[in-house]
Subunit: 354 residues, 2 copies
């Protein structure tokens, strides 16, 4: 079977790291007898917006909705276009309209990446953050009353549906069950947020009953962020609401040294719609155009994409190639104390794939 | 003038650290010619609840509402009484009914406390987290629909009022203005939480105009938590909503080694009602009764109380005494690798006060 991949480089360094991502995907595909076909799209970028006054064509769903996956660089250029236009006009649209209800990110201390946490070594930190990606705190329900007076107030609702909560918990429990430690941690704040969070806890407890092999616990989000710093070795799979997952999936990678190399997947597990794989970093206008961006986040996202497509071995071979590349100072990019440029680093990973 | 302090030891180790807090307060008061009068109350504890079926007497406001401040140990004993009864029946009541709209916590790397962050030394990390303490995400507005069906959903509103937002921002800007660096950081998430958070940003911008001497910036909460770990030296005063402030004021102390010694103030700046000063740690049932609890959080909270009452020198002398005590291994408690018990540590600080 041939996989059809929609490639969207987007803005800034997205355009520079994408070719390296593709280079490595092609190398892994060749070694593992996987067939990939790439279609390129120029929308979801500032250039496209400048020309068309919108982030994407009206028929964007027809253009990319039938692909097996979307490989995405980076979007946003705050100096030129406000975030709520660029992000809500592309990324958030994908999440909502392609029902990508899982946001998945690894938190893993890699060789060659100095940890900001004292005394932690590769292997010590290795877990996944599973984030609900469609509802919760990111609802658009709410408004403002008595504008421009002393009585002015705004409200915004957090919305949790049975469907929305149960399906993300099921995904997280299944992931935990598939791992050696079989341990799930739920992020809550039911001692302060007194309606939605107790509901979340209730659903976790119900779901846990159907996964008797998984050991689970829960922490309030405040102490949980503290424990990411103090005890990152405690975690295996961590699940949280849209907001809590967002926080934990930036904090986790920060604890492993740099969010500059972390990958992410925005996943529709049923495969009704394509999933999006993208590096966690943004378009980084400050270093765009210099050829020095670190391509590892893009490449690692490619590995996640292959695993999602069912090509586990090919994906795993990329992760191992990344580890071997990062271990060599000369093959790392400048941000990690190395002296390789974007292309040299990408080529190194491609060569390492086996 | 004599200050009247309401003393509420509460539960668990609250009862053990309170006498040390008072010991040090008395020592500092004596040296600095400050007169303190303590009134003890046994409510806001499991013992009281067991006898009376409620956390506090009906006339709790008459009993402690006229005091100059409340010195509070710890409350809660999850094995015996659910958090929403113990916490919402005391702490949260104080915050709401005494309009303690500021929650204030220092984040400071102290001598003798190993930092979980690699290579950070005392002096490198020294900032304040200012948390809105009465509204925001901790509203009780919301509910559940279609219970026990597949269509079930819950909602909870975040509520931000002009009054509520402006007064916490004013406090934070004033605090920043009083410090050498004059730098304020605002926690937001306006790229995802699209109604309340842009409003918060709008009010920050408006307030900033009236504090031209303060340099300010803002970060989305996800990357802000990452920056607490990666760049804790960037911060001077950080202000956030009820939830964001809650997270940051646990994460911050964690980055400085232990939330076991952090103090906090729940403050009504106008002095219409008494403010509450309490250690960040809880009642710690697991070590209660052994005399090994670390009293520094309680003692440090006393220092904050004196500063709030206008007795800056006396408060400052306690903070310095804490630093000198922590620097001596033999004077620290076990949790910090020392061998002092609760009383020995408290006495050491009291002796150091000058
Ligand atoms: C106990 C809980 C309700 C409380 C809060 O979230 O406000 C606690 O975490 C705190 O920070 O004092
Ligand atoms: C850009 C922003 C809306 C987004 C989010 O909060 O979901 C980002 O932080 C992310 O994690 O992908």
């Amino acid at each position: 079977k041939q996989y059809r991949i929609a490639v969207i480089p987007g803005d800034g360094i997205g355009k520079e790291v994408m070719p390296e991502g593709q280079r490595v995907l092609e190398a892994a595909a060749k070694k593992h007898g996987v067939s990939l076909h790439f279609d390129h799209f120029d929308f979801s970028s500032w250039d496209y917006y400048e020309k068309h006054g919108q982030m994407m064509p009206d028929d964007w769903k027809d253009k990319i909705g039938k692909h097996d996956a979307i490989y995405f660089g980076a979007v946003g250029w705050p100096a030129k276009i406000p975030d709520h236009v660029s992000l809500w006009g592309s990324l958030i649209k994908f999440r909502r309209e392609f029902d990508q209800y899982v946001n998945l990110r690894p938190v893993r201390l890699m060789p060659g990446v100095p940890s900001p946490l004292a005394g932690r070594k590769p292997g010590d930190i290795d877990f996944w953050v599973v984030r609900e990606n469609t509802e919760g705190e990111y609802s658009s329900v709410g408004g403002r009353m008595f504008p421009d007076t002393d009585r002015e107030f705004v409200t915004q609702q957090t919305v949790m549906t049975r469907t929305g909560v149960d399906r993300i918990l099921k995904f997280a429990f299944e992931l935990a069950q598939s791992r050696p430690k079989k341990h799930l941690t739920s992020a809550t704040k039911s001692n302060g947020i007194s309606i939605t969070m107790p509901y979340w806890d209730e659903r976790v407890e119900a779901m846990a009953k159907t996964f008797p092999g998984v050991r689970w616990d829960k922490y309030h989000i405040d102490i949980l962020t503290a424990n990411f710093v103090l005890h990152p070795d405690w975690f295996d799979v961590v699940v949280g609401s849209n907001l809590f997952g967002d926080i934990l999936s930036d904090l986790g990678p920060a604890c492993t040294g740099t969010i500059g190399i972390a990958p992410s997947g925005n996943i529709n597990p049923e495969g009704n719609f394509p999933s999006v794989f993208e590096p966690v970093h943004g378009s980084a206008p400050d270093i765009a155009g210099q050829g020095i961006a670190n391509p590892i986040g893009m490449i690692w996202s490619g590995a996640m994409m292959l695993e999602h497509l069912g090509e586990k071995d090919a994906g795993q071979s990329i992760v191992e190639a990344i580890e071997r590349t990062l271990a060599e100072r000369t093959l790392r990019t400048k941000d990690l104390g190395g002296n390789a440029d974007t292309t040299a680093c990408g080529k190194a990973v491609a060569d390492m794939v086996d």
